[in-house]
């Protein structure tokens, strides 16, 4: 029975007490409310009050900023083949604090990475020193080959080496090794150009560094990134043709082996555009192994060295005389028995030409008569003759885009002595570069217009005033086409490039070409005859100045030949300069054969039609080979005039030993006024032997058999490149094939799985591509 409640008689009941249940309820509510308030307050504190602090800490923890190195621009030849390009390679670094035994690690790593004895930085001692010197970072080896990288990775796995890591860096490669080394130059470890075009166009080729901002999570994975893209370096297209360059270098190699000369230079130029197709220099170096190069190997003799051209310069004299209508090619000129006195100085013809009487002007050039040349210069007059010399480009920089170019040695006419006109007329008292010489010959070849020589295709690099042009940005793909203006074959560009000007009339130029042909057919240049092509030129043999005595040396010579081919419609001009050949030193026997070898191959390569009948190969008769000495007799020109011209050079001219040089080697001593070819006399004439790039086999063309060799027919009409169609839908395939000028045959449906021919194949227009599609 429930207990009853006793009735209360009290009329004033006690105040009601809250039932315990309700109190407990509100207590619990209060507890939860307090909890919620605490949480909210904490959230407010963390997310509002401390917002800034936490954002800062998060940024510090997560965000990383990296400098992104720009990729260096690619150097292409005129056919868009890579001559210099940059790819990523592994560099190996260590965190020394993580390495247990530094000496053991250094020893093990050096055994693998120290493969080049010239690279002291990868020796065991150097690696150990770097590991001891730093705690958090030390290079082991930079820019190693893929093979070395793999071996190091295998070593790390095998020996459980800690603290060794890899990082990608850019490495410059020159796939053709030594080809056009002095022209291209090389880059150092910090990716800066140190010679040649790499140095000259360093700002354009280097690019601009970028920045990458990344957010990293706790595992150091990248959550996201934003970057200021690095601006890669510009790609540059050169006028050099890789194949022509190879031909020129191989011919020069043959000559160097024959003559053991101190150095040699061959320049091949397109006469109608002024573009340098090849510039070969020996001895040379491998830009991939630039540590092994000495400063003299880096020198670009084609633009930085001068020499007295000797008889080759008579082309200027005869051109001036014809242009001034002082003489005609068939006029008779009295060679006075091979001797002439000018201002008290006696100038002799060569011994073999002494006794020459009245001969035609053409014959005088063919026989290289000094007397005739002096007389012609006197007829032209000193001032006008000097002007012709300047108009041909001598005495000033050509503007070819190579560093270290000298303007040559040519005294101002007001400083000429009374006999200077005679000396200059026969190529003395003047210093010229091989590039100036070939440009002079090109002027005659193209009808009389001087075209500045160029190594870079036009339109790529604006001058400083206009800023850089927007073309040639390195997007990782090759530029679409060389940037030269379209040109009609065999005609001069219209408009003429800057610096071009007419020097001779077309008639005079034609007359000169004919006379140059006479030199090759009947004169001293017989060894320059070609098979199937006419050629013309002029030989030269000049004595060098002996640095010991300051006088012309009887034992040191420079053999040169400058020529054009074919004669009637010249395509190329070639200048060959061989410095200090041993034994035979005449231009006719040393340099003319080099011209013949180069010109013959180049014209065949360019598919220039033959303009004379082909003949069976025959050995030249002894009579043909008999060389008349050009001008290798005692030179009596005023050497002081040459020194004076050298002292007139601007301070930045490399011949003065100051300013921009073509290499990062030690600068030449100041006051070197003699021709710089003498400096190289001490350099071994043998080409540099680099194991990485085996020299081509030095063979000569085999003796022709009696039977006619088989004919090879090559399609030389325009060919088209087959586009890549794999993965494309049918509609795209049809569009791309049509755009490429090709037909397409489609089997199956869907996207392309296979195609024939393969992408990149060169085919004739209208060829049918077969594609097989599938789903």
């Amino acid at each position: 029975m429930p207990s009853a409640v006793r009735p209360s008689r009290n009329r004033n009941p006690a105040p009601r007490v809250m039932p315990l249940k309700r109190a407990r309820f509100w207590l619990i509510c209060l507890f939860f409310l307090s909890w919620a308030i605490l949480i909210a307050a904490r959230l407010f504190w963390l997310q509002v009050v401390l917002h800034g602090d936490f954002m800062l800490r998060a940024r510090q923890q997560q965000q990383r900023t990296f400098d992104v190195a720009p990729r260096r621009g690619v150097l292409y030849d005129r056919n868009l083949r890579e001559l210099a390009m940059t790819v990523q390679v592994d560099s190996i670094f260590a965190v020394p604090s993580e390495i247990a035994d530094k000496q053991v690690a250094a020893h093990a790593l050096a055994a693998i990475v120290h493969s080049d004895p010239y690279d002291a930085s990868t020796s065991e001692e150097q690696i150990a020193a770097r590991l001891d010197a730093a705690r958090n970072f030390a290079w082991i080896a930079r820019r190693v080959t893929a093979e070395t990288s793999e071996r190091v990775k295998d070593l790390i796995k095998a020996q459980d080496l800690k603290g060794i890591y890899f990082q990608k860096e850019f490495q410059r490669f020159y796939p053709d090794n030594e080809i056009a080394a002095q022209v291209l130059g090389y880059v150092g470890m910090d990716d800066k150009g140190l010679g040649g075009l790499e140095l000259k166009f360093e700002p354009q080729l280097h690019g601009v560094s970028g920045r990458m901002y990344t957010a990293l999570d706790a595992r150091r994975h990248v959550l996201g990134s934003s970057e200021r893209e690095p601006r890669p370096g510009r790609n540059l297209v050169l006028t050099i043709d890789e194949n022509i360059q190879f031909m020129a270098e191989r011919a020069l190699d043959h000559a160097m082996e024959r003559t053991h000369a101190a150095n040699g230079t061959v320049v091949v130029q397109d006469v109608h555009t002024g573009q340098i197709l090849a510039l070969a220099i020996r001895p040379t170096f491998n830009p991939n192994l630039f540590r092994r190069a000495t400063p003299d190997l880096l020198r670009n003799h084609a633009v930085s060295d001068v020499y007295e051209p000797g008889s080759v310069f008579k082309l200027v004299t005869y051109s001036a005389a014809l242009e001034q209508h002082a003489v005609a090619p068939d006029d008779m000129i009295d060679c006075q028995g091979g001797q002439i006195t000018l201002a008290g100085r006696v100038i002799h013809d060569d011994k073999s030409d002494r006794g020459l009487g009245k001969i035609t002007v053409s014959d005088a050039l063919a026989k290289s008569s000094d007397v005739a040349a002096v007389k012609l210069a006197l007829k032209v007059g000193q001032d006008r003759f000097y002007q012709y010399v300047r108009d041909f480009g001598f005495g000033s920089r050509t503007g070819a885009e190579m560093p270290g170019e000298t303007r040559g040695l040519l005294q101002a006419v007001n400083k000429w002595s009374p006999s200077s006109i005679g000396s200059v007329a026969i190529g003395q008292e003047i210093g010229v570069t091989p590039v100036q010489l070939v440009s002079m010959v090109s002027t005659i070849a193209n009808g009389g217009v001087y075209l500045p020589p160029r190594v870079l295709m036009l339109g790529q690099i604006d001058d400083a005033a206009n800023g850089q042009s927007a073309s040639g940005v390195n997007t990782g793909s090759a530029p679409k086409a060389p940037l030269a203006a379209p040109q009609v074959p065999g005609e001069l560009p219209d408009p003429l490039p800057p610096g071009a000007h007419r020097v001779l009339s077309t008639m005079t130029a034609a007359q000169m070409r004919k006379m140059m042909e006479g030199v090759v057919l009947y004169g001293t240049g017989k060894r320059a005859q070609l098979n199937g092509y006419s050629s013309g030129g002029k030989t030269g043999t000049a004595q060098k100045i002996d640095p010991a005595t300051g006088l012309y040396s009887k034992t040191m010579h420079i053999a040169s030949f400058a020529g054009i081919a074919p004669v009637n419609n010249p395509v190329i001009a070639v200048a060959v300069i061989i410095d200090s050949p041993q034994g035979d030193y005449y231009g006719a026997t040393v340099s003319a054969p080099v011209f013949a070898e180069v010109a013959q191959q180049v014209l065949e390569y360019l598919a220039v039609p033959h303009d004379i009948d082909l003949r069976r190969h025959r050995a030249l008769s002894k009579a043909d080979l008999q060389v008349k000495e050009d001008d290798a007799h005692a030179q009596t020109a005023d050497i002081n005039a040459l020194y004076a011209a050298a002292n007139d050079l601007p301070s930045d001219d490399p011949l003065r030993g100051g300013g921009q040089t073509s290499a990062a080697g030690p600068p030449t001593a100041g006051g070197q006024t003699q021709v710089n070819a003498t400096q190289t006399a001490a350099v071994s004439g043998a080409p540099v032997n680099v194991p990485a790039s085996p020299q081509p086999v030095a063979t000569h063309p085999p003796a022709e058999s009696q039977a006619d060799p088989p004919t090879v027919i090559v399609a030389s009409e325009k060919t088209l490149r087959v586009p890549a169609l794999i993965g494309l839908p049918v509609r795209k395939v049809i569009e791309q094939a049509a755009a490429a000028g090709l037909e397409v045959q489609i089997t199956g449906s869907g996207t392309v799985r296979e195609q024939a021919p393969a992408p990149g194949t060169m085919v004739a227009p209208g060829t049918k591509i077969v594609v097989r599609c599938g789903r």
């Binding site: 029975m1 056919n79 083949r81 890579e82 390009m85 790819v87 990523q88 490669f173 796939p175 053709d176 090794n177 080809i179 994975h221 990248v222 959550l223 996201g224 890789e242 190879f246 031909m247 397109d270 109608h272 555009t273 197709l277 990782g476 040109q487 074959p489 065999g490 005609e491 070609l530 098979n531 199937g532 419609n569 395509v571 013959q600 191959q601 065949e604 390569y605 360019l606 598919a607 039609p609 303009d611 082909l614 190969h617 085996p694 020299q695 081509p696 086999v697 063979t699 063309p701 022709e704 060799p709 004919t711 090879v712 027919i713 090559v714 399609a715 030389s716 009409e717 060919t719 060169m762």
Partner: protein, 133 residues
């Protein structure tokens, strides 16, 4: 002395008791449930987007790296091609295979019009020819 207590079950029949219908309360509960559902859905959507964006960031970075890797491979292949096609190497290999330089006139270019007297420009012939250097 307390009355002894003897627990014994007592059955109650409360089946006659029914909860009085409260429409207002029912509507409130339904509204509240709907609001919670919407709020939760929005939260889920936000969360999904947030983490998807993070995952997307990872994927984008991965694709960027893959693209750069492919580009680099392409450059390496072009370098390899340039090294393999350098004229000196081709020349050496051709000679090792017994090939010889063509004699003048041995290679005939089948151009449409071959005019020996026409001017010529120093331009290279197509890349693939049958000559060896």
């Amino acid at each position: 002395m307390r009355t002894p207590e003897f627990p014994f079950p007592k059955n109650f029949d409360n089946s006659r008791l029914v909860k009085a219908p409260d429409p207002a309360r029912t509507r409130q509960i339904r509204l509240f449930s709907a609001a919670c559902t919407i709020l939760l859905s929005l939260s889920m959507v936000y969360g999904l987007q947030h983490f998807s964006a993070i995952e997307g960031g990872y994927r984008i970075e991965s694709e960027k790296q893959a693209r750069e890797q492919l580009r680099e491979e392409n450059r390496e292949l072009r370098l390899t091609e340039a090294q393999l096609t350098q004229p000196g190497r081709i020349d050496r290999m051709a000679r090792e295979l017994g090939l010889a330089e063509p004699q003048p006139g041995q290679v005939v270019h089948s151009a449409a019009a071959v005019d020996a007297s026409a001017p010529a420009l120093a331009q290279a012939v197509p890349e693939r020819t049958a000559t060896s250097f």
